[in-house]
């Protein structure tokens, strides 16, 4: 396992609460660049919340409190004066359910770049090809770029959503159970594209099963009820967990 000298993202003592309940308690975690970091554990563990904190999507939620820091390239992303829109362009997000925006495949992929001010047609075509290709979708949709995105199959839609995030050339890609609604073949395609992508991107993924966690992880962090129980390079966490609760979960005794 190659360990980068400076982690891409540093999560430092983050505690986060919704109206009534704490979702995350004192979480500290370093996320290395150019690797796949897996956040896993039973539902309600705070994985999705943490993911949404990394690109400040939870800013949209009312009535929440947060303490601690999240650093991206050693800069506090919650510091005053940070542009949230710039942050979200650097940190892309793919959601659990494929959610194409209304409109064509092309419009979906170019949505982000257009908002960022892209006008040039040649550049747009370039982005379109590169992103769809990276998401392993180009071959399947190259003849239907102007068809409605909602006409694609579920698996294609999810890869479209990945392409849509990639179109902004983010540095970090966050994926929240990106294969939860997909069949095994589509799942394999998505996972395969992740392996390709990690050369260029820092990937943080909430997998939809322990098996998937074990398949894709370079690093893994186990969450239980808002707490980070332990984090390790992949091999160790799944073969020799240090904490009893991790072992119980990994071996299927609860969850």
């Amino acid at each position: 396992m190659v360990t980068d000298p400076a982690p891409k993202i540093r999560i430092q003592d983050v505690t986060y609460a919704y109206d009534d309940a704490a979702a995350l308690r004192n979480v500290t975690l370093d996320i290395p660049a150019h690797a796949i970091t897996v956040l896993f554990g039973p539902a309600g563990g705070g994985k999705t919340t943490l993911l949404r904190l990394i690109n400040r999507l939870n800013d949209l939620v009312e009535g929440t409190r947060m303490s601690g820091q999240i650093l991206l390239d050693n800069e506090d992303i919650y510091a005053p004066g940070v542009s949230v829109t710039d942050l979200r362009r650097r940190v892309g997000m793919v959601f659990a359910l494929p959610l194409p925006l209304p409109g064509s495949v092309r419009q979906n992929v170019l949505y982000g770049p257009r908002l960022a001010g892209l006008r040039d047609q040649g550049r747009a075509d370039e982005i379109l090809f590169r992103s769809l290709n990276q998401a392993a979708l180009w071959e399947e949709v190259k003849d239907r770029l102007d068809d409605s995105a909602s006409a694609l199959s579920g698996g294609q839609q999810q890869r479209l959503c990945i392409a849509r995030s990639l179109a902004l050339e983010p540095e970090v890609l966050l994926l929240d159970e990106p294969t939860s609604g997909l069949d095994p073949i589509s799942t394999a395609k998505v996972e395969h594209s992740l392996f390709e992508l990690k050369k260029d991107y820092t990937i943080v993924i909430v997998p939809h099963s322990v098996q998937q966690a074990a398949r894709v992880a370079d690093h893994a962090a186990f969450f239980l009820m808002g707490e980070l129980i332990e984090h390790q390079p992949e091999k160790k966490l799944f073969t020799a967990p240090q904490k009893k609760r991790t072992e119980d979960y990994v071996t299927g005794r609860f969850g």
Binding site: E62, T85, G92, L99, A116, S150
Partner: protein
Amino acid sequence: MKRVLMQRVGFVLLGLLALVVVLPILLVIGAIVARGAQAINWEFLTAMPRNGMKEGGILPALVGTLLLTLGTAVAAIPVGIGGAIYLSEYARDTWLTRAIRLAIINLAGIPSVVYGLFGLGLFVLFLQFGTSILAGSLTLAIMTMPIIISAAEEALRSVPTEFRTVSASLGGTRWQGVRNIVLPQALPGIITGVILGLLRAAGETAPILFTVAAFFLPRLPQSPLDQTMALPYHLYVISTQVPGMPADVQYGTALVLLALVLSLNLIASVIRSYFRRRREW
């Protein structure tokens, strides 16, 4: 079984009561259509009234109503949609937001004749617009606004939250998400609401009694500061204020007003059902 029999009788009774609601509606429309249709011809729609309004046409009233509705639309649509966007996309759940909602509910409940008084006090006298299309349109616009806000807010809220989240996650600002995704998706619902609001304005009499309406003015208005005749007020005038009015003219006028309003109603529901079938979520 006695209980089953009771239920059956009960259901029939409910159906009959529903019939009591519906039949008079058909009766009103049927009566006005049947008798009004005889009066309507090209001249009736395009000529000036003559001989104390007993002959000729209703052109100035028709044009007046169209102008008033247009004026109302220009003033009420931006404010109404803007207000709806604020409530649905920007407002957080604070006392201020609740005060706004309360204000809207109350605006919707203020009697139309009170709007008339207000329009007289503010637009006609205080701002010195005089009795004019401008004063009337603004009065009607404020009356129409709560209808547009409520309908538009509902349409905006029915657009799934996830679209906003996706737009934000791709580096979109809140307004960019609203403009590019939410607003286009909510547009059919908003248009429906706008039409329903405007048809209400087109049919109202009380708010224009003291702010625009001319009893008898057989010419077309030249500027927004002109008075004008208007269909609803004209119908009121010829059915209560002018003795010896031929029933044909009355029914004809009623039919034109009714047709105008009901066709707007029809357009609204066609738009609604067409887009409801077509939308992708």
